[in-house]
């Protein structure tokens, strides 16, 4: 069912990941932030989000870029659920047409 090696790997992965979730929180906890640090904290969510999806901008062919462009336009215009539906459907269509 589960081997020792696998259990150990999973336990250490879990510890590594939980530590990333705690380190930043504990470092800033109850610290008064100055204006510059506040500016950094305000920019941080966007920096992380755009970084995570960055490979989409360079990984694919023209079809993938077209799907991404449609998704961006939808995201500017619509709320979460319609954007996700437009994005998934148009990406599926584009991929089938591009083969």
């Amino acid at each position: 069912m589960i081997s020792f090696d696998v259990a150990l790997t999973i336990a250490l992965m879990g510890l590594a990941t939980y530590s990333t979730r705690l380190i930043g929180f504990l470092a800033i906890h109850k610290l008064a932030l100055n204006a510059r640090a506040t500016r950094v904290m305000e920019a941080a969510p966007g920096c992380v989000l755009i970084t995570v999806i960055a490979p989409r901008f360079v990984a694919g062919n023209m079809g993938e870029l077209l799907a991404l462009a449609i998704t961006m336009l939808a995201a500017i215009r619509f709320s979460l659920l319609p954007t996700v539906m437009i994005s998934v459907i148009s990406t599926g269509l584009v991929r089938h047409l591009w083969g």
């Binding site: 929180f25 920019a43 954007t83």
Partner: protein, 238 residues
């Protein structure tokens, strides 16, 4: 002042609002979870092992990387180092939550942080920042999003491991584009003009370059830190 029962009702309503808002995110997560489970079982992991990994680690990007690197026996050092590197963005994410959660005790915040993923964090922060009026971070809204997403992730990765590799072709259908879609909508919600967005652009460019030219996984810390550095440099002149 509110009575205890009114507070309870309010918290319950916020929890339900979080659960409801998380459903569009699940459209993208379910197929991804099925693919991860199927690929893991193809690499020889049992269903119990897959459930345990996704429940205890609970960070999809690092789990895909671990499966990619999986061997029998697994190379523990490489997999754990890779996991830390890919999830290093959580350090920044946790730091942004600290000022929003400082009124709450550790016995609430530390367990809640275990369930922090890109989506639950971003939705919690966007919920607090997005509205024009001042609205504090809603802890129970965050919990609603976070707990539903965790349960969903563990359930569907396990199901993927059970029903197996027949599912791998699901990626061709377009569901994976749900993530950029969710993230772009959240980014639009945080948009405050071009100058404010300059660090984001820098993050995007550095992450793209790192993805193309650096070893696997490095684009996450380089992209995030590059943008933060620009925000720091711009910070003086507000």
């Amino acid at each position: 002042m509110y009575s205890t029962s009114e507070m309870k009702l309010y918290r319950w309503a916020e929890l339900k609002r979080g659960i409801r808002d998380a459903f569009p995110v699940i459209i993208g997560l379910v197929p991804l979870a099925l693919v991860l489970g199927a690929q893991a079982s193809k690499k020889g992991m049992s269903t119990v092992e897959v459930s345990l990994m996704t429940a205890l680690n609970y960070a999809g990007g690092s789990e895909f990387a671990a499966i990619e690197l999986w061997s029998s026996p697994p190379n523990i050092a490489v997999i754990v180092a890779m996991t830390f590197l890919i999830n290093s963005r959580h350090i920044v994410m946790g730091a942004t939550l600290a000022p929003l959660l400082k009124h709450l005790p550790f016995r609430k915040t530390l367990p809640a942080l275990f369930f922090m993923c890109d989506e639950s964090w971003a939705m919690g922060v966007a919920d607090a920042r997005g509205s024009s009026r001042f609205q504090p971070f809603s802890f129970h809204y965050y919990l609603g999003v976070a707990l539903l997403l965790w349960f969903n992730w563990v359930a569907f990765t396990s199901l993927g491991a059970l029903i197996g590799p027949a599912l791998t072709d699901i990626r061709a259908w377009g569901f994976d584009m749900a993530f950029p879609a969710v993230f772009l909508v959240l980014l639009r919600g945080m948009w405050k003009g071009l100058k404010f967005a300059l660090p984001w652009l820098v993050s995007l460019l550095i992450a793209c370059g790192s993805w193309l030219w650096l070893p696997q996984g490095w684009f996450v810390p380089t992209g995030a830190l590059g943008g933060l550095l620009v925000a720091y440099l711009l910070g003086g002149d507000r």
